[in-house]
Every structure is written in C-alpha cells, then in structure tokens.
C-alpha cells in the first residue's frame, strides 16, 4: 500500500506522460485504492491475520492496483456505426464492433435511446452480420463501447440534426427556433407545437411537399477514431485462508474498485468485472495446460483442466470510482478485461502473503494444492508454534 501511495501520479498530473512516451488520459488511483482499503477493512484484516497466525491459521491479504490500456485505438483503429429511424418509428442501429456476449445490444441501444429520446424497446442493434453491416473492425482490447459506442453515438447525433431540419420543414419554423428535449423538437415559445423523432420519421415518409434537396431518410453513419487510448484503473483486494497441511485455498473475501470512466449500464459493467475476476482467479489457482514428455495433452477435457465454479467463490464486493476520459465525448474507458487484470495478481499476492511465515515470496501459477503444500512442508512457521 505504501509503495503504491508513494508512486501514484496525482490527479492533477494527467494527462500523465510515462517514460515510454504513452500518455495516460485521466486517473485518480489513490481514490480507488482508498475506497478498496476501506471496503475490505484493511487495517482490521491485518490484525485478524496476526491473531490467526498465532493459532496456526494462515490468512493472506492480496492487493493489486492496475492501469489498463483500452479502447484500441488511435492511428487507424476506427469503428463504424449507423443509426436509422424507420417510418414505423423503429430504430435500427448497425455496429461494426461485434460483441459476443458482453451486452452491447443493450448499451448501444441505451446510447441511442438517450440521444434520440426513443424508447429502448423500439431499438434493434444489428452486429456480426457482414450482409447487414458494411464495415467494422471488431471487439477486442476493451474497445467496443469506448470506440464502437462513440461511432453509434455520433451517428445518432447526425440523425438528430437531420431530424431538426425535417422538423423545421414540417412545423414550418426556422430550425434555430426548435428546442430538443426528451425526444421532442418543440417550437420555442409554443410548447404545444412539436414533433418527436419518430413522428418526424413517419410524417416525412408520407408528406408530399418535401423540397427536392431534402433527404427524407432519417439515417446517418459515422466512424470514430479516438485520439488516444484510454487507461482504466482500479484496486482489487483478495483475502484467502490457506491450509498449508493440504495446500487448499479458500477465498474469504473479494473487493474490487474499478474505474472505467462513465458507465452506460452498471449491470453489464458488473457482469464484465465478475466474469473477469473469476477468469483471472482460475488462471491464478487452477488453469494449466499440461503435456507429457511425448507431447500428449494431459489436460484435454474439463475432467482434468480445472476451472473455477460458483461454489469456489464468495460474493464479490464490487464498486466503482468514475473518472471520465477526455478522449471521447461520452467519457467511456472500457471494462472488458479489467477483472482479469486485477484479480490474478490479487489472488496470487494473497496466497503468497498467507504463506509469508514459511518464507514464501513467490509461487508460479497455478497455485495448486500440491505446490502450496510442498512450499510449507517440513517448515516451521515464523511466529507460530505449529510445525507442518
């Protein structure tokens, strides 16, 4: 904790140019660390650890603070989005960022719903079909929302401006005399006179006197290429109890404070974090591809290749800080990989910390029972009468 506190860049130092030339966009690392320490009850945990060690029980507290590089990114890594309000009032969103389970069907729809003032149910997000979406780069590097979401947001903004022009024609007022609020263009000073975007889409479709230069389709596309990467960050704290006699690790507590900038959908962000933490924990404790000397794969099925299960986990205690990025107009940083980045070192550090009385300072992953047992076997724990 002290080493981190001493070395963190301060919030006022952002954008923080690192020695490698990369500029961290924004951050408040100390805030996330403090929040995690408080949530975990760090001081008390250290007292508990001391007390339990004297009883021959080995509690370990593992901490990891991380900075991630996300939203790939500048220099050609654009993403594509298109938004179209159909005459029926239905909105179709196309995205080149093709999620495979992260839930951007929902978060992209939320971005468009907020921008256009349209009900979420009226919006369909289409992705992953090259017959429907003309171009795109894809989902990786925690970029789908921070880059693809912005492309969709920009396309929605263009649709809104187009709708303003059409509304000005339909309502026979100057475009500058229209206010947009809660999905409706209102004539300034005449609040009863106005049209929603969906009404505009419908009326333009049937109107006969549209000027020739006016395009009746409420449709726009956009690509977004960020000027820099984003740098989400956070602190994870894992508490374990290790039983040296059998080498087993019990996860007692897990606290994660992640900062991915502005959050579109808290539930989806929590889902990403949860899945990531569990995946990272699997890497730390269980997962290993093993071949024998003849090159035969020994971990060829889930009967031998171990993964974490729900029963192996405590309730994950998740919270956030929110430091928006200046790199894109929505302040979004990305969250896809944060869980795995924070959890693997937090879990390993916790186990190493638990075994500190045995002089353990490092263990290669995965931290299997046999490995843990062999490290403490025959050694006397410092500060404990128990011999293992």
């Amino acid at each position: 904790v002290k080493v981190r506190q001493k070395n963190f860049p301060k919030p006022t130092e952002f954008p923080f140019k690192t020695a490698t030339g990369v500029a961290y966009d924004s951050g408040n690392y100390q805030l996330a660390l403090n929040k995690a320490l408080k949530l975990a009850g760090y001081e008390k945990l250290r007292r508990d650890q001391k007390r339990l060690r004297s009883q021959g029980r080995y509690l370990g507290i593992g901490l990891s603070t991380y900075v991630e590089i996300c939203a790939m990114g500048p220099k050609g890594m654009w993403e594509y989005g298109k938004v179209e309000v159909e005459p029926s009032g239905k909105v179709t969103v196309l995205s080149g960022a093709s999620p495979h389970g992260q839930g951007q069907e929902t978060s992209f729809a939320q971005i468009v719903a907020d921008e256009l003032g349209v009900e979420l149910d009226a919006i369909t997000v289409v992705h992953g079909d090259t017959a429907a979406v003309p171009k795109g780069i894809g989902t990786f590097g925690s970029r789908a929302t921070a880059v693809g979401g912005i492309a969709v947001y920009q396309a929605a903004g263009k649709v809104k401006e187009k709708a303003r022009e059409l509304a000005s024609h339909l309502l026979e007022v100057d475009a500058d005399d229209l206010n947009f609020s809660e999905g409706r263009f209102n004539v300034k000073g005449v609040p009863k006179k106005g049209l929603t975007i969906q009404q505009i889409a419908q009326q333009v479709h049937t109107t006969k006197n549209l000027p020739k230069e006016m395009d009746p389709r409420l449709s726009a596309e956009s690509t977004f290429e960020p000027s820099n990467f984003t740098f989400p960050f956070g602190t994870h704290i894992c508490v374990v109890e290790v039983e040296p006699q059998t080498g087993t690790v019990e996860i007692e507590k897990y606290v994660a404070v992640d900062d991915c900038g502005k959050v579109i959908n808290p539930l989806l962000v929590d889902g990403q974090i949860q899945g990531g933490i569990v995946q990272g924990l699997g890497q730390a404790l269980f997962e290993e591809v093993i071949y024998d000397e003849n090159g035969q794969l020994l971990t060829g099925s889930l009967m031998d290749y171990a993964l974490p299960r729900a029963a192996d986990l405590p309730r994950l205690n998740l919270t956030r800080t929110e430091t928006p990025t200046p790199v894109n107009p929505l302040g979004i940083k990305g969250i896809g990989e944060a869980g795995t980045i924070g959890s693997t070192p937090a879990v390993v550090n916790a186990v190493v910390d638990a075994l500190a009385p045995f002089g353990v300072t490092h263990i290669d992953m995965p931290l299997t029972p046999q490995k843990i047992w062999s490290l403490s076997e025959g050694k006397k724990a410092a500060g404990s009468g128990a011999r293992r």
């Binding site: 080498g247 009967m303 031998d304 993964l307």
Partner: protein, 291 residues
C-alpha cells in the same frame, strides 16, 4: 465425440438380461445410469457390440431395511441415497458420500451399482461400502452369490464380477444405532473425483472405547481398500486425539500411492494421512453426539 455403433436392448426381466449377457460374452456392456459408461463410449475407450439397458427391469432400484441390514438395489441413484430418510437415520455415511459425488446431474442419473462395478480407483462409493463392510449380490446364469466388498475390488476398473454376472444388490449391516461416521475427500478441482477419500464408520462403547470400526480409503492406490492396520490399532481402545493421529499415519502402510497430474505419490500419501485423521475425528465427534 461419437461412440462406435452398437446394438441396444432393454430386457424386461433379470433372467433375460443375464441370458443376453451370457450369450454375448465380452461383447456386451451393461447400461445403468450411464455416467461412467457413456464418457468411455464417446472417447471410444470401450466399443461394445451390445448395450444391455437395465432400467426396464423392475426391482433393481430402492432402499429397504431387512433384518438389521440395509439393502440397496444396484440401480438406485446417488440422489435417491442422498435424500433417503431411512438412510439418514440408519446409515448416514451413505448419504454423506452421495452428497459429494459429481454434481446434481450426475447424482440424478448415476447409480451406486454402476459406480461400484466401474471401479474407478478415485470413485467415492467404494470407500463407504468398504468402511461399512458391505456385501454385493452378483446374479449370474448359475444363480446369485454374495461377495464381501473387500473381495470385490481387484484393481483399477477391475472387480471380481464375472463377465456373465450382474451386480443387483448391496447389503450393509446396520445393527447399531450408537455409531458415528464420516466421509471426507480432497476433491480434484476439475472432475470432483477423490484425490484421496476416507470413509469411517465406528461404534463407541463405554468411556469412548471403540467397539467396532471400519475405515475405507479411495484414491490412494490402484484400488480402494479397507485400512485394516488403522482399524486394528483403534479397535478396543479409547480414541484419544493422540491415538487417532498415530493410527491415521499408518493408513499408507503397504500401499503404493498413485501418481498423476493432480498429486504426486508423496502428496497423495500425505493427504491420505491427513484425511484419515480428520475423518476419524469427525466420526468420533458424531458418535459422541448420538449417545
């Protein structure tokens, strides 16, 4: 993967099944819950010409008490055993063991008889059946015979059952109500099978003296076994923590611990000692609470 092709019959009577098995010799395999057999078929570790499904034969499933003995049909599922009120009262060790087998799906389909005859050296049932001094009824063309569990397990995936015999019943003596029992295992993280599993059944007499005891061990060696050395050190004696600890250390005596991906021989032997000690302590605790 897809199994090699096979024929399938589902006889309506035990005689029919025995007849079919005799007629096809080593070419046929019996299908109970299928949770050991199907994975083997899919991996093509076995390719029988014929599967004889036992599920249509009446009377092969169920749990009853007869003359101070619990009788369990071979086709009784792990879940039926786990949830049996009769067993909870009369032979809780079986419920405890069933509870930690595989997962809910496996326990709903897998059967005790299937598991015992499959004889995986890391399976859970053998430890409990050995600790309880169970007997197995084998039905063949020459009629029925009873075999003690200790004579049944011969090696990995190998039992004393003849190719023409079917395991039909498991019988367990439960004369005493003053017993304590426990099954504890170190589960392999991926499969849930026992790296080492120890089952203990014991009866305490006056002043905590051990009147009778059975200790079954699975996972340690190529076949499950009854830890006779441990038992004889404890039988007739007061079960002090010191004696339990010392006796448990002898569980590895005469065994040749397995070595695999999940545990070296040395680690397995160590685990066997730890788990024997813990299981004994747990069984003593439960016996004491029953008095």
């Amino acid at each position: 993967m897809i199994p090699a092709s096979f024929d399938y019959i589902a006889p309506q009577t035990l005689d029919e099944a025995v007849g079919a098995l005799a007629a096809h010799g080593g070419e046929a395999k019996l299908l109970a819950g299928g949770h050991s057999l199907l994975p083997l078929l899919k991996l093509r570790f076995v390719s029988p010409k014929l599967l004889i499904d036992l599920s249509k034969i009446p009377g092969l499933s169920g749990i009853n008490e007869r003359d101070d003995k619990i009788v369990i049909g071979a086709l009784t599922t792990h879940y039926q055993i786990e949830s049996s009120e009769l067993l909870k009262e009369r032979c809780d060790l079986l419920c405890q063991t069933a509870r930690v087998i595989g997962d809910v799906q496996v326990r709903n389909r897998g059967t005790i008889g299937g598991s015992l005859t499959h004889a995986d050296p890391s399976a859970d049932w053998p430890a409990a059946i050995l600790a309880l001094a169970g007997e197995l009824k084998l039905s063949g063309p020459k009629g029925d015979r009873w075999l003690a569990a200790e004579q049944f397990f011969l090696g990995p995936m190998t039992t004393a059952i003849e190719p023409t015999e079917i395991l039909t019943e498991i019988r367990l003596p439960v004369s005493s109500r003053r017993y304590g029992s426990a099954y504890l295992k170190m589960a392999q993280q991926a499969s849930g099978f026992a790296v080492v599993g120890v089952a203990v059944w014991l009866r305490l007499g006056q002043s905590s003296r051990c009147e009778d005891i059975g200790v079954g061990v699975t996972g340690l060696g190529v076949k499950p076994f009854r830890a006779r050395t441990v038992e004889s050190r404890l039988r007739g004696n007061k079960l002090t923590p010191k004696l339990v600890e010392e006796s448990a250390a002898q569980v590895t005596q005469g065994s040749d611990p397995l070595e695999d991906l999940h545990a070296s021989a040395k680690f397995r032997a160590h685990l066997a000692q730890v788990y024997t000690s813990r299981t004994l302590q747990e069984a003593v605790k439960r016996a004491a609470s029953r008095r």
